[in-house]
Amino acid sequence: MADLQSQDYIRRSATTLTPPSVRNHEAEVAKLIDVTRCIGCKACQAACMEWNDLRTEMQSFEGSYDNPKDLDPSTWTLMRFTEHETADGNLEWLIRKDGCMHCEDPGCLKACPAPGAIVQYANGIVDFISENCIGCGYCVKGCPFNIPRISKVDHKSYKCTLCSDRVGVGLEPACVKACPTGAIMFGSKADMADWAGERIVDLKSRGYENAGLYDPPGVSGTHVMYVLHHADKPSLYAGLPDDPKISAAVEFWKGLIKPVALAGVALAAVSGFLHWVVAGPNEVQPEDEVEAQHLLAAERSKRDTENRYIADEPA
């Protein structure tokens, strides 16, 4: 994939130059996950495993429908089940398909130190290019959604690719194809936003006053969006961040201090060189050696006198 779409990058990790970007007449894509229509069947999870040839380790049941318990290097999407009790005492089963949000401003890519290990295509998909990944885990720190997972076996970082290999040849992502209720849609981002708008009008007419689209501006929007019944409180949905942003620590670390630190190091080295040119080496002079010998001789004779005095003492 990396080779097929290498003229299609709009962002490339740890790269100070403009990536190849002539193929710029490409529509941004988005996956729309309508949480209000999800029945929790996990067909999307199965389809993801099947298309991407992923099988995670068998785990044990611990009282939750979440299976496996968390995202891992072999689990790129995961249904997260939340039992929510509404103000009037009803139970709502909030089922959110978790996975990479494909941020327009990807924190993982910003944090990544390995050139070309994380790229963003012109259609908005954020992809990990494993051959360049060094396994440092900086992407984990950069991500506001807690998505990437590093394999303990091959030390590479993994997450949903939005089926970039399928999308690249005009297919929809595997999870979209498998969804039996149409809760997962895929298309241009504009179309998905329009469709979400219709759904939200419908939901509001049926009593979900706070229904809305989750396309968080803190990361300049995402290429995976949710329709939520409670868009005023995204955190109800298994901790979906209310206002996701790249951490200020990461922004500072990857922003201002990079050039300032290198300049500081360079300045220290240049200062040393200039001092050498202006003041020059500090060399021991012949007088120093003479003075030193005088002192040594004086101290030696002083000690000799004392020793003689001690020797003269009767035992």
Binding site: T16, W253, A261, Q285, A292, R303
Partner: protein
């Protein structure tokens, strides 16, 4: 090591080995750290056999550095204790920089600049160790939150940059003050060097007839 007659021991063999182990670790950590810090320097990862190897080896080298620097602290802390003379020396830094050491307070085994290098590293290395362990994901990922690790990385970078700038100062001073490099490679200095740069140390050696590195060393009686 054969030492020319009449010279003084500045650093023992143990000290020198300890110093160069620390130095080797520091340089390797700096190169690998800078490669992961700035994309313009990522090519340095090739020195370690590629990014994966570099990422894997960096923390282990760090552990060796910590142990090695602990050895430096054991050997050097006493001679690096801060005194009132150090303030006067630091205030006369302009004269020192101009190579005019006459009239500057006499210096014992280490001057204020050397002491600052010593104590800065003694502070920064534990900071680098602690923050580094927090982001050593293979073993310690589960021990802290991701938000803690974000700040750990930021502090780790800032401390490392400070350490690198101090290291540059340290290396340049060794080049600038002639004879210092030999003091750490072959271990000895001439009496004139000691008179010029560390007169108080020299006086204490002369008064006890010691050939260094510390006054009153009984083992040196044979050299008299």
């Amino acid at each position: 090591m054969t030492r020319p007659r009449g010279t003084l021991i500045r650093n023992t063999t143990v000290t020198r080995l300890n110093h160069w182990l620390t130095a080797a670790c520091f340089v390797l950590l700096m190169l690998s750290g800078l490669a992961m810090f700035h994309p313009l320097l990522f090519w340095l990862s090739a020195l370690f056999g590629g990014g994966q190897w570099m990422r894997a080896i960096h923390p282990w080298i760090g552990l060796v550095l910590v142990v090695s620097y602990a050895g430096m602290i054991v050997q050097f802390w006493r001679d690096n204790l801060w005194t009132r003379d150090d303030v006067a020396w630091a205030l006369a830094i302009n004269k020192v920089l101009a190579n005019e050491e006459e009239g500057v307070p006499e210096v014992a085994r280490f001057n204020a600049g050397q002491k600052m290098v010593f104590w800065s590293m003694a502070l920064l290395i534990p900071v680098l160790l602690f923050t580094g362990i927090l982001v050593w994901d293979y073993y310690f990922e589960a021990f802290s939150s991701v938000e803690t690790q974000r700040f750990a990385l930021l502090i780790h970078s800032l401390a490392a940059i400070a350490a690198i700038i101090i290291w540059i100062t340290h290396v340049y001073a060794a080049i600038w003050v002639r004879g210092s490099m030999r003091a750490m490679t072959q271990g000895y200095v001439t009496p004139g060097w000691a008179w010029r740069h560390h007169r108080k140390w020299f006086r204490s050696l002369a008064a006890t007839g010691s050939t260094g590195p510390r006054p009153g060393n009984a083992a040196d009686k044979t050299h008299k």
